[in-house]
């Protein structure tokens, strides 16, 4: 442990020091090479101005390039190679992928996730935002709904696995869900091993975790709706429901889209919950877990893993483009 602590301190200090030293030193160099004085002051400072932004950007660009851009491109290249990355196999992996039943299972599940989770989370978040707004104990209620945000997926998996726990009869059921089922006269179920039901069970966990996120953002958006528009509608005789559907929701449509997309992206990349709760068994496989399986489990095949990863990338790309366009529109404005 002591060596590790020393390593931590040394790493933090050296990276921070290097970063500051670089920006400071490089700025000084610029001022020395092209001083903003003398006869050529104008031209010099114009030249230094061209370079200076890149000094500030440098460290971040290096990190992002090395840890995000390069490996993504490299993974694309790996997809064209065999298990160890030694032999070029062209489109072989993609051809294999096209006929792989597990891929279609994962794709099917991912599609179901995409249809259910963002919609339910956003809707519940909107309902929670509206209901808690202006309530005296609303702050408290919002804190409770938002709390799962702080919990890891693994922690949430333990929490919910306990809810779904199954004990064969005659011992008493200690899982809340089965206790309720038996109290209602039903037979207890092993929820996580029954196909289709287990998908829903996993989705509930993610909805439980994401609703608070949706609520917080939508709640801020609702509060940003000008009070005058609501008052005007009230004077026009509109009831609470009409005000909600005709005045409030249309004004926060943009935020709804943002929340929806964010949860969609999260769902596409969903890994931990499935990995920990079922590990993709009993028909719960999703893309991210399938990739992990190919890359690190059993007899790893980097080529096939990379090929599945490309499928995930392809699914994320439209949302990425949507994000970029939104950002560029803002940048121009």
């Amino acid at each position: 442990m002591p060596e590790a602590l020393t390593l931590a301190a040394a790493t933090m200090l050296s990276v921070l020091f290097t970063c500051v030293a670089w920006v400071w030193g490089a700025n000084r160099m610029l001022d020395l090479i092209w001083p903003a004085t003398g006869r050529r002051a104008g031209r010099n400072s114009a030249r230094a101005g061209l370079i200076r932004p890149w000094l500030f950007l440098g460290p971040a660009l290096v990190f992002m390039g090395l840890y995000l851009v390069w490996p993504v491109l490299r993974t694309g290249w790996l997809a064209l190679h065999d298990a160890t990355g030694a032999r070029f196999v062209g489109l072989e992996n993609l051809r294999w992928l096209a006929s792989d039943a597990r891929l279609y299972e994962a794709l099917g599940n991912s599609l179901a996730w995409l249809l259910v989770v963002p919609a339910v989370s956003t809707a519940l978040g909107l309902i929670a935002a509206v209901l808690t707004d202006g309530l005296r104990w609303g702050v408290l209620a919002r804190a409770v709904l938002f709390m799962p945000m702080a919990i890891s997926f693994v922690g949430a998996a333990v929490i919910w696995k306990f809810i779904y726990a199954f004990t064969p009869e005659p011992a008493p059921e200690i899982g809340l869900l089965n206790a309720l089922v038996t109290a209602a006269g039903g037979a207890p179920q092993a929820w996580l091993t029954r196909a289709f039901v287990n998908d829903l069970a996993l989705m509930v966990v993610v909805i439980w975790m994401q609703t608070g996120f949706a609520m917080v953002i939508l709640s801020a958006a609702l509060r940003a709706v000008p009070e005058e528009t609501l008052e005007a509608a009230r004077l026009d005789g509109a009831g609470p429901w009409t005000i909600f559907t005709r005045i409030q929701v249309p004004q926060i449509r943009g935020t709804l889209a943002v929340v929806w997309t964010a949860i969609t992206i999260m769902v596409l990349k969903l890994f931990d919950i499935v990995f920990v709760m079922t590990n993709g068994q009993w028909g719960t496989q999703v893309l991210a877990n399938l990739i992990y399986d190919w890359m690190f489990r059993g007899s790893p095949d980097a080529g096939r893993g990379a090929a599945v990863a490309l499928v995930l990338m392809a699914l994320v790309t439209p949302l990425m483009i949507w994000n970029i366009r939104a950002a560029l529109r803002e940048e121009r404005a």
Partner: protein, 358 residues
Amino acid sequence: MTSIILENIAKSFGGTRVLDGIDLAVASGELLVIVGPSGCGKTTLLRLIAGLEPITSGRLMIGGQVMNDIPHARRGIAMVFQNYALYPHMNVRENMAFALRVAGVGRDRIETAVTRAARLLDLEDCLDRFPRALSGGQRQRVAIGRAIVREPAVFLFDEPLSNLDAGLRGAMRLEIARLKARLSDRTMIHVTHDQLEAMTLADRIVVLAGGRIAQVGRPLDLYERPETEFVARFIGSPAMNLIPATVIAAGAVTRLRLATAEISLARPTPPDLAGAEVNLGVRPEHLFPSGGPGLVAGRVDVVEALGEVSLIHLGGITAKLAGTRQDLGGQTLRLSADPAHLHLFHRGRSVMSHLPLG
């Protein structure tokens, strides 16, 4: 020594040209006020001079040196911003000392400069307070103080008073006038959309419209001899009345046909103007009721009694009459004016020579 010369300056953002063909010479020690409606490019012009925006084309000279590419810090300019731009995490003393500290000035000299500026602006009691604890007027004075301590050759004011309420604005206007009197060797450029500010402070006024200079001149010049309809209506409140007219005869004597009558003016117009549709301009304060046919006639719609004067509205024409004239409401009135106070505009430009100023 610190004159400012702009030669054919233009500025584009993306494909939009916001300033075009700006030629302007500001004399050393002059207080120049730039006025214009919002969006006319007046703040952009100020930012070009300060070096906060690059100049698209043209030449900027300050104190005889070309400044286009010189960084802001070396232009010897201080600027006071509309929203004050005080550093929120520094107290008043640190705010005023910041520039000097950057320049590496010694502690004692900073202290002297800050104290002097604080005394000048009556800020001695709030030197240790933070901006959020100051009133609007105090913040504005700190912003000015921050500019003063640097002893710049050129002061730029970007609508410094427009965030203040009306009463405070009047007081601060006086303050700036006093400041100018005390620092008479410094060049100042003041941007505003408030014509009252322009008229009272300026040595000369520049009227900007649509990214171009509409007219430059001394305040009363602009009031009495506007070269364009735009300037005529922009300077003076309420705005100058424009009465449609047809030119019957042009030349040494001008004859006009109005809705009410035909009038003759002993002032020359270009001979080729005969037959043109023109606007006859007359300021509300120059109209008075008359027995004759007058310039306009009509029923009074509304009388706005302001106490000292009354504004009489009839058919789109406004007249400013002394005293309380609510008795005129609903009456039919004929209004006339001294020919010396009439202006004539054809296609937006003044076409009748003005009488020499008295």
